[in-house]
Amino acid sequence: MSGIAEIWVYLSASPLLWLTATILAYLLALAISAKLGGTPLANSVLIAGILIIALLQVTQTSYARYFEGAQFVHFLLGPATVALAIPLYKNLEKVRRSLLPIGGALIAGSLTAMGSAVAIAMAFGAPVEVVASIAPKSTSAPIAMELARNLGGIPSFAAVLVILTGILGAVIVTPLMNALGIKDYAARGFAVGVASHGIGTARAFQVSEVAGAFSGIAMALNGALTSILVLVWVLLSQA
């Protein structure tokens, strides 16, 4: 019995264990999703996340210990984000022809994302730090954490809201657009990029390359616009 405990002590201290677990949980999530006919409800980030969280709870493993292994997967997010330039380049002519809808939808979507979340949170009487944390929820996590800090929110809490928003958008977008009969994949992709940043973009690529490309540019532009809007807001409220 002490032998098994020793092996566990060795394994749980090695980053290899949780790196392997992350990749296996993701593969399992893909298999479950395929088994369910690829329904968007069976989102692979959602399922893999739940599997790992359950495993961490059962084995009494801290997130810090988990991340020592998972950081190798997490690190690739940087180069993968840079890689979004390639599908954009392949669809560059389409992007050039769509500058008006891109600009208009960006401004309308960005304001709706922030305004509606803040309005609903305030309607429920949420304290100012919760309202400030939810405002940048549609941008990617590093932006949202910084913006939440500038607005008087809680950065780590903002990161959680960002992840939840990403998964929600990725789950909702396909059934919603299909129900509305929208077949313009540039428009669909752009919408999920504004609403749900990188997780929405990952979902868009599962549906079509055009949707993914437009989701990538939407994510980049919405991050920039939200930063500018918050900056202006902070400057105005100081004045």
Binding site: L84, A108, G166, A191
Partner: protein, 140 residues
Amino acid sequence: MTSKSDEGNTKPRITPATLLAGFAILIACQLVGETLVSAGRLLAPSFVFPGPVAGMLLLLAFLGWRRHLPVGLDAMATGLIGILSLLFVPSAVGIVQYGGLVLEWGPPLLLALVVSTLLTLLVTVGTYLALARFSNGEKP
């Protein structure tokens, strides 16, 4: 759109070296992006922008200027984008640290997120389609 490599009808082959070069281009762009962003922060400390996204825009500008996409870069990018969802799993698991905060504000917070996400999708796609129709209609 034809690049010089199309001459002689020989397709450039994907080799370990071209794949590695593709990966090098991606991380080099990220590095330049991160450097530019941290330099920019000296000028405007409150403006935040992620280095990788800056790297993406730099690479797009470069590809648009050169009008040539190296095969290794294409293959590496396609591979990474193919597993994009996997790369978000470690961050998603991070929710576990803040379960208490989410539970405290549970239902109203979740409602705010669902309604806001739904509204954002509808407003964005609606505006996009309306303006696309408008700009198409203007053409002769």
